[in-house]
């Protein structure tokens, strides 16, 4: 175990990007101090450590702030060597990074549209999301997890979909139908959520659905302040 004073994580309980960092910290057995942020009233510490985006998560290690959850994941992997989450082989690393950015940029965009929009635009976003889910489903062919037999960087990166996609569907009244159409992905979602580090580190579902329902009512101009 690593001394806790050196590692601090600024987060928000409902945020998938924050949980992603927590999963990595817990996988590596790193002790840390967690600071819950009220994003409607951000602390001066958060603003000091992340003046650019003013978002969570922010990992502070030895007073150095690291921002952007995927950047934080790589930092954690490079700083604490036990239980590596990224593969060693450069080609496998490139593939892991590819899927992580695909999910963070493309899937998140379509999910966001499916969540906030209505009518034709919503339908189009769901269609696009399904094309993306198909790609993820194919990538999982013959593998338990994206990273192989054990969860790794890619699983942590895609992980938000295992929980928050369902939350978004319930809160915004749509269905991406992965349980019917994408068996590998559906199976992965269950296996991922069953992993001890993940299972013990998720927000309460009802409360999260309520949160996102309220969030949707605030209107489509609001951006969730997290990355």
């Amino acid at each position: 175990m690593v001394a806790s004073a050196a590692v601090r994580l600024f987060g928000m309980w409902a945020s998938p990007a924050v949980r992603r960092v927590e999963w990595a910290l817990k996988l590596k057995g790193i002790e840390y101090e967690y600071i819950e942020e009220d994003l409607s009233n951000k602390s001066s510490s958060l603003l000091e450590f992340n003046p650019i985006n003013k978002q969570v998560p922010v990992l502070v290690h030895n007073c150095n702030p690291i921002v952007e959850s995927l950047v934080i994941l790589e930092y954690i992997d490079e700083t604490w060597k036990e239980n590596p989450i990224l593969p060693v082989d450069p080609l496998e690393r490139a593939k892991a990074r590819f899927w992580a950015t695909f999910v963070d940029v493309k899937c998140r965009e379509e999910s966001r549209k499916a969540f906030f929009m209505e009518g034709e635009e919503k339908e189009k976003a769901i269609e696009n999301l399904q094309v993306q889910l198909k790609a993820l489903d194919e990538e999982l062919e013959g593998k338990k997890f994206f990273s192989g037999d054990h969860i790794g960087y890619t699983d942590l990166a895609v992980g938000w979909m295992a929980f928050w996609l369902g939350v978004a569907e319930e809160a915004a009244g749509f269905k991406a139908n992965y349980d019917v159409k994408f068996p590998n992905f559906s199976r992965w979602m269950k296996d991922f959520l069953a992993e001890p580090v993940i299972k013990d580190n998720l927000p309460p579902r009802e409360k999260t659905v309520e949160f996102f329902r309220a969030f949707k009512q605030l209107g489509s101009c609001t951006k969730v302040n997290q990355k």
Binding site: I66, E68, V71, I72, E74, Y75, T79, L91, R97, T101
Partner: protein, 235 residues
């Protein structure tokens, strides 16, 4: 075996693409022999569609028949494979690496869309907003450079690093927009460090060979503007 003299390296790209330039600069810095396969503007080759079915975009690096997509991922791949050739692109320290990665993501997220927004945005108002965002981004990058370079010529220190490549590949287009719009993006008064950095970067031999001439980019931009909603080959 990665990095062997017999490994076959191809790069699918286009001369004007700044994303492709990132890959080419990295390959050149690492002295990797590669075959450059130029995609024709407006069409996508079979090889591109097969190698990058998800995005269908350049650049794609093909190393021993294995495709690697996304310019920043390609640059890291090159740095990790040809590790013993030339200086490392990524800094040695994990925190410095995090800074390079953060700012590279920032560049792709905020700076580049604003830069091309100046040309592509649908209204004059939107174009003006893009310009403000581009200038604001460069101001932040100027401050970041001050901290990260630690008084040296590059983000990478004495030698060109990952973040230099990430931003520097866009210097050609920055100069083209400056000429087309009649204002400075990199300004001696507001971003003196980046001005000096851009000059050092472009003066580097392997970089100079890759960044297209400003006049050619200006010509291309005019052609693209004439075609409604066209875009430079980009990833």
């Amino acid at each position: 075996m990665a990095g062997s003299g017999n490994s076959e390296v191809k790069l699918l790209g286009a001369w004007a693409s700044p994303y492709v330039a990132r890959a080419r600069i990295a390959l050149n810095l690492k002295e990797v022999q590669y075959e450059f396969l130029e995609e024709q503007f407006g069409t996508k080759s079979e090889l591109l569609l097969k190698s990058n079915p998800i995005y269908k975009k350049i650049p794609v690096l093909i190393h021993d028949d294995k495709p690697i997509c996304e310019s920043l991922i390609i640059v890291q791949y090159i740095d990790e494979v040809w590790v013993s050739s030339g200086p490392a692109l990524m800094p040695a320290d994990a925190y410095d690496r995090a800074l390079h990665r953060f700012w590279a993501v920032y560049i792709d997220d905020k700076f580049v869309p604003a830069l091309f927004g100046m040309m592509r945005a649908p209204t004059e108002e939107a174009k003006a907003e893009s310009k403000e965002q581009a200038l604001a981004s460069l101001q932040l990058l100027e401050e970041a450079f001050g901290k990260i370079s630690k008084g040296k010529p590059f983000f990478g220190g004495d030698t060109i690093g990952y973040l230099d490549v990430a931003l520097g590949a866009f210097v050609g287009w920055m100069k083209a927009f400056e000429e087309m719009n009649g204002f400075k993006l990199l300004d001696d008064a507001k971003t003196p460090l980046l001005c000096a950095w851009a000059e050092n970067f472009c003066n580097n031999e392997v970089v100079g060979a890759v960044i297209p001439e400003t006049a050619k980019l200006v010509e291309l931009a005019k052609v693209m503007q004439a075609r409604f909603k066209s875009a430079p080959p980009a990833n």
